[in-house]
Amino acid sequence: MKLSVWTYEGPPHVGAMRVATGMTGLHYVLHAPQGDTYADLLFTMIERRNHRPPVTYTTFQARDLGSDTADLFKQTCMDAYERFRPQALIVGASCTAELIQDDPGGLAARMGLPVPVIPLELPSYQRKENWGASETFFQIVRHLAKPCAPTAGLTCNILGGTALGFRHRDDVAEITRLLEGLGIGVNVAAPLGASPADIARLPAAEFNVMLYPEIAEPACRWLEREHGQKYTRTVPIGVGATRDFVAEVAEITGMAPPVRADESQLRLPWWSASVDSTYLTGKRVFIFGDGTHALAAARVARDEMGFEVVGLGCYNREFARDIRAAAKDYGVTPLITDDYLDVEAAIEQVQPEMILGTQMERHIGKRLGIPCAVISAPVHVQDFPARYSPVMGHEGANVLFDTWVHPLVMGLEEHLLHMFREDFEFHDDAGPSHLSGHAKPAPKLEIVPDAPAPEGAFIWAIDAEKELRKIPFFVRGKARRNTETFAAERGIEAISIETLYDAKAHYAR
């Protein structure tokens, strides 16, 4: 048992729902009690979908237990088939139904329905949402994909996009465009937008693009083994990764090098190089998200924006190894956890100037007063933008630049904050001037001299504390930490103005 307040991932059947809801012509019959229908609103509200997810729940109650839950499942299955007439059914159990062991897969298989019935075994007490999505997609592909004649031109499949995915809609569109530029057509994009009939003709393509390894890897591996389709490993997020992706595609398809995509619309490199971005150089960022997006963000942050990566982690343990390896390269301690309190503690400790994270880290950032840009699921309704906003490919790189810069204090404003600290407009509680509509008036400096220092804390002399407050809010955390580390190393217990400036000189870079 583990106490949890907020979770990064839902249960595995929600992953199955993301696959089903992204597809057309597929229906999911879920053996589940009343209440599990809450998951529908993730799709209809957060993603603003105009249809209910194609899911029918058996809705068993306590009085059904031990008597006829199996019959209830069969009846529900039949009713759902009659009403929705899908091309294929997926069937499975949510966490509670798993305990009553009705075997939905076996029951449905014996009903003689005229369409393929794909059983799902998603162990709710061991696995989570991403795993559920990848297993579901794998089972769908395994059951439906059939050997078929190759397509006329050179084509690939783009695999991994689902409903409720972070920017999946636009990533699929952007990568389709990128590939078209290389003369490669898209046979099928799946699960997002595909029907069971489309899945059947996956093997007609030359190769597969593994867009999201979290979801598509098992399916890609199986298609390679059974149908000889190679698949891409590089996730094209950022300038460098997109170039690597193009090179990988060229190699898979045997194009003669050098192959380079048309980069006329790629603006990140110049935006990053232009002098206004001077203030971005060396910004200390903490990165946390799903493995794929965290790894990609770290590369963009360091190698394309000039940030310093001071923290790197992911919540999906399946990617722990990759994150650990990358963390070594960045010289940071990897953080593999699905407990947001651990993430908060780690962020508080390293005092980054910016967080690249999920909606959880956005909340953490709010609490700690650190700007945050969202790079990964889980996300909220505001991260499903109306505009075209991919994070992959060339436009994706442009979007990353804009999205990451937006929460920060802008260049000259940063200087003004350094110069005029107690200004009525540029002060701590105002935040970046372009983000706060109702800047609060500057608060009076209040220092309670007799406040007892918490155990293990340093005693700051009043004037040193006052001096510290003159340092702008977005670097003050670092200054405090540096000073205290400096003091600790020298056995200084009471921190004076001198200690503060000694430490500043010591850490000068």
Binding site: L3, G10, P11, Q34, D36, L65
Partner: protein, 430 residues
């Protein structure tokens, strides 16, 4: 329980369509979202699965991120293997929680579907943990599971579980039952005091130390129609459960307060004198908003059990025409007065088979459909105008001063629809 209102008209004898199928409703765990705000020294610990945690996170919509006073002890594979281990694990998690949160005075162990299916005995656990952490912390258990409870029934189960912890009193007192927003509760208390009733208690109380006592002198006025088990538990403690229409709208509120006051021995003339001004003010305010509602049809999907009293308000005070009034569960005795006051006509349905009900709604094409969040956008995309039912649970809607706000909750989507249609006559949905 004796009914005070006996009008010959209404839906008292209307046949009830009992549906059994897929339910598009929350389970009882959802009640934690408002209960933890009401009871400020309580922590709600769900013993359940990742699904339970995900539900609470999703249902809360906005995350109240400053460590909220609820959480889920997520069961893992090894907890399912042996109950002894599960109990040990639970004790350990509770120890940790209480060590970190010394401000907690009441701990609710909330049962879920999986904890009930594996028959984890939370009442024994509550006893054991009370021995261990009492008297500083009182540990109580109830079920919010989807196999036992629907949405608001979670509050009913919670309050019913609290009743045995209440002290005894024989004093004459009026007890308002159901977690009401503070502003509403204060308004009611003020009106009763103006009639000379000093002994007005609220249940649940905001803190454990303020919990009311109960006994033969207690007159219980239920503020919500879903509190059947809590009412039965209070009756078993010799309280007298009053029957009244629920305090929605000007007339509903007047009737509800009058019944409470009469039970406390206040003469009718004094009641009328106190209620006259607020009643008139509320009626006038409702009438203004109702201009947009009069003659419009409304279809209520089952959600919170508030549907019958709300339909009564919409029909009688706003001039709307209910087509179907669905409720997840109908406590016949609790809503008897509201049913009697609801004009004949609508189909009354209990339970749900969501696809069939959607077919009925599409056929009827009501001017307004009151439904859950899972259905709202899809129905809007089909051209129906919807009102999120959950807002009715999360907003102050009881009492005189909120009566017009309540009407406005229904008027707004209709006004908005007209506006959207003129701004975006052709629109593509996602």
């Amino acid at each position: 329980m004796t009914s005070v209102i006996t009008e010959p008209l209404g839906c008292s004898d209307a046949p009830i369509l009992k549906e059994r199928g897929q339910r598009e409703v929350f389970c009882g765990l959802t009640g934690i979202v408002w209960l933890h705000r009401k009871m400020q020294d309580a922590f709600f610990l769900v013993v359940g699965s990742r699904t339970c945690a995900h539900l609470l996170q999703s249902a809360a919509g906005v995350m109240i991120f400053a460590e909220p006073r609820f959480g889920t002890a997520i069961m893992e594979e090894k907890d399912l293997a042996g109950l002894a281990d599960a109990n040990e694990e639970l004790d350990r998690e509770v120890d940790r929680l209480l060590a970190r949160r010394p401000d907690i005075k009441q701990l609710f162990l909330v049962g879920s579907c999986p904890s009930e299916v594996i028959k984890l005995d939370l009442s024994r656990a509550a006893e054991r943990l009370t021995d261990r952490h009492g008297p500083h912390v009182q540990v109580v258990n109830y079920s919010g599971s989807g196999i036992e409870t629907t949405f608001t029934q979670g509050e009913d189960a919670c309050l019913a579980a609290l009743v045995p912890t209440l002290g005894v009193t024989a004093d004459k007192q009026l007890m308002l039952v159901g977690s009401l927003p503070d502003v509403v509760e204060d308004q009611f208390v003020r009106l009763f005091k103006a009639m000379g009733i000093e002994a007005v208690r609220s249940f649940p109380a905001t803190e454990r130390g303020l919990a009311p006592k109960v006994g033969p002198g207690t007159k219980v006025l239920l503020a919500q129609p879903f509190l059947g088990d809590a009412a039965a538990a209070l009756a078993a403690r010799d309280a007298d459960i009053l029957s009244a229409p629920f305090p929605f709208g000007a007339d509903g509120t007047a009737a509800w307060i009058s019944i409470g006051a009469r039970a406390m021995g206040v003469p009718q003339a004094r009641i009328d004198a106190v209620l006259e001004t607020p009643h008139r003010r509320a009626s006038n305010a409702v009438a203004k908003v109702a201009q947009n509602l009069r003659g419009k049809t409304v279809f209520l999907f089952p959600d919170s059990q508030l549907e019958i009293p709300l339909a009564r308000f919409l029909a009688r005070e706003c001039g709307m025409i209910p087509i179907e009034v669905g409720s997840p569960y109908i406590h016949g005795s609790l809503v008897a007065d509201d049913l009697a006051l609801l004009p004949k006509g609508p189909l009354i349905s209990e339970g749900q088979d969501v696809d069939r009900q959607l077919d009925r709604a599409r056929d009827a094409r009501p001017d307004l459909t009151v439904c859950g969040l899972g259905l709202a956008n899809p129905l809007e995309a089909e051209g129906l105008t919807t009102k999120w039912a959950i807002e009715l649970v999360f907003s102050p809607i009881h009492g005189f001063e909120q009566a017009a706000d309540l009407a406005e909750l229904f008027a707004r989507p209709i006004r908005r629809r007209a506006m959207i249609d003129s701004m975006h006559p052709a629109r593509v949905t996602a």
